[in-house]
């Protein structure tokens, strides 16, 4: 089952780019500013410095946020054509609005990763930061016993899963990010990756007329849809 995903962009007028992503109960807002002036100690003569700041919904920044920052940075940094803007800073701020569960357990944190990544990618696209590719992320659970694969599971499903996987793919289906936890065989992992690729990648060219609602819930297509709506709006004057 693919839970309902929703996304939007461009709602923060002063940020260069902004994106929000809601998956199930998890809700994230991200903003991008840059390329802008960089602190001297972070300055790189050939490349832009990329910074990710995660802010929790409740309480102050802890090691959990530092961990999320490091993971998000590892997914987003290779996406950006950093050499296009040397000696600058590209700052990505991720604000957690609502999490799947109330406690700070591992599952809640895991369910944050994919939506946070998607919100940040939308914000980067909105800010027109030069990118190599579009990345889309999803969470996949491998169930105990049945061995079923559940895409975008809820907390209850996570409880009954043997392993959970946060995966991100480029629109051509290249694997960009993995965070898998649990107990699984490599063969199971391969099945999980295929399921994830299905919702994250985009059908290449051809533009098949598969404009069903179900398709737009798949995150890869959702990101495309949101962005093409923006371009349409930007070009509205020509109509």
């Amino acid at each position: 089952m693919v839970s309902s995903n929703a996304a939007s962009i461009g709602f923060l007028p002063r940020a260069d780019g902004s994106g929000s992503f809601v998956s199930g109960r998890t809700s994230i807002i991200a903003s991008v500013t840059g390329p802008m002036e960089v602190r001297i100690r972070d300055e790189h003569p050939q490349k832009a410095h990329v910074e990710v700041i995660v802010r929790p919904a409740i309480g102050v920044t802890s090691t959990r946020e530092k961990y999320l920052e490091a993971r998000l940075l590892s997914a987003l940094k290779p996406l950006i054509l950093r050499s296009n803007h040397p000696r600058t800073l590209i700052q990505i701020v991720v604000q957690v609005v609502q999490t799947a569960g109330t406690d700070e357990n591992a599952s809640t944190t895991l369910l944050l990763l994919a939506p946070a990544m998607n919100a940040a990618v939308l914000a980067l696209l909105d800010a027109a930061v030069p990118l190599k590719s579009v990345l889309a992320a999803t969470t996949v659970a491998f169930m105990k016993g049945s061995g079923g694969v559940v895409v975008e599971p809820g907390l209850d499903e996570l409880k009954n899963s043997a392993s959970t996987h946060v995966l991100a793919f480029t629109s051509t289906g290249q694997l960009g990010f993995v965070e898998s936890d649990g107990e699984f065989e490599y063969e199971d992992f391969e099945r999980v990756v295929e399921a994830g690729r299905g919702v994250c990648s985009v059908e290449q060219k051809g533009h098949h007329a598969m404009d069903t609602e179900a398709k737009y819930h798949a995150v890869g297509e959702l990101i495309r849809k949101i962005m093409s709506q923006k371009v349409e709006m930007d070009m509205r004057w020509r109509a």
Binding site: D234, W237, R238, A239
Partner: protein, 265 residues
């Protein structure tokens, strides 16, 4: 002239072939060229191909201004050094910080000498042209036209008010929309579909309409800033707000907007 939507990583499917041997392919903003013949998009936008000029570029909209050679911009003086002014080129997200800093040499004014050069104080608004744009260097500005060496409107903007618009809107106000319109007309002609489809907007009807009735001065910077001045505060405000509201409006809607605003005035 064909348009299609591209995303970062998408390869431009068909490149125009140079008609003359000495014309090279021009790759515009939003695209990265990899030799020998691969052009890849690096942001979201509409791909535009002009076969005659043998050019490809991406039409998109944004808020963050990246200086580009010969762009006219509206900048603010921050301070003066021994031989240059340091200016901030704010983007349309302004008054957001983190705007680009640029150098305007004291002598980069028409016929300026050490004695006759204009004195600019911090906070002054300047209409200038980007004379150096390189990602590895801070941009530089000049206050005269590259060809005629005359002011041609560049220089300090006194009085008036500055309004923010998107970078796309600023380009349209400078007439880029007209070029796109011409390309579209040409494409229709080529396809023999001139009669079909309605009128094509050039995206700056708002300005044409306002200019017909009101008297005001205007300067548009490609960094998403529009300077407006007139005798009457109300007129300046009306012009500014009409322009800001026209962002997503078609030509007809822009005209209607201006009519309504003028009626209220």
């Amino acid at each position: 002239m064909t348009t299609m939507l591209l995303f970062p990583g998408d390869v431009v499917p068909e490149l125009p072939t140079p008609q003359k041997t000495n014309t090279a392919l021009k790759v515009g903003p939003g695209l990265t060229y990899t030799p020998p013949d691969k052009v890849v998009a690096h942001r979201v936008g509409e791909l535009h191909v002009d076969d005659r000029k043998c050019a490809v570029w991406m039409e998109g909209n944004g808020k963050r201004y990246i200086p580009s050679l010969n762009d006219a911009v509206i900048a603010t003086v921050l301070r003066s050094t021994s031989d240059s002014y340091i200016l901030a080129i704010p983007s349309s997200t302004s008054p957001a910080p983190a705007s680009i800093q640029a150098l305007l040499p004291h002598l980069a004014f028409p016929q300026a000498t050490k004695k006759t050069r204009p004195i600019l104080h911090p906070g002054c608004t300047v209409y200038a042209r980007v004379s150096l744009a390189n990602k590895h260097m801070d941009p530089e500005l000049e206050c005269y036209d590259a060809e005629s060496q005359k002011a041609e409107g560049f220089g300090e903007l006194k009085g008036g008010m500055v309004f923010n618009v998107s970078l796309g809107m600023a380009r349209r106000l400078l007439g880029d929309g007209k070029k796109i319109r011409q390309l579209q007309l040409r494409a229709r002609k080529a396809e023999g579909t001139e009669a079909e489809g309605g009128e094509i907007s050039n995206g700056m009807e708002v300005l044409e309409e306002l200019g017909r009735v009101l008297a005001f001065e205007i300067a548009v910077g490609r960094n998403g800033r529009v300077w407006v001045d007139s005798e009457d505060t109300k007129v300046t405000l009306c012009v500014g707000s009409c322009i800001q509201k026209s962002e997503y409006l078609t030509g007809d809607e822009q005209r209607a907007l201006v009519r309504e605003a003028l009626r209220k005035l």
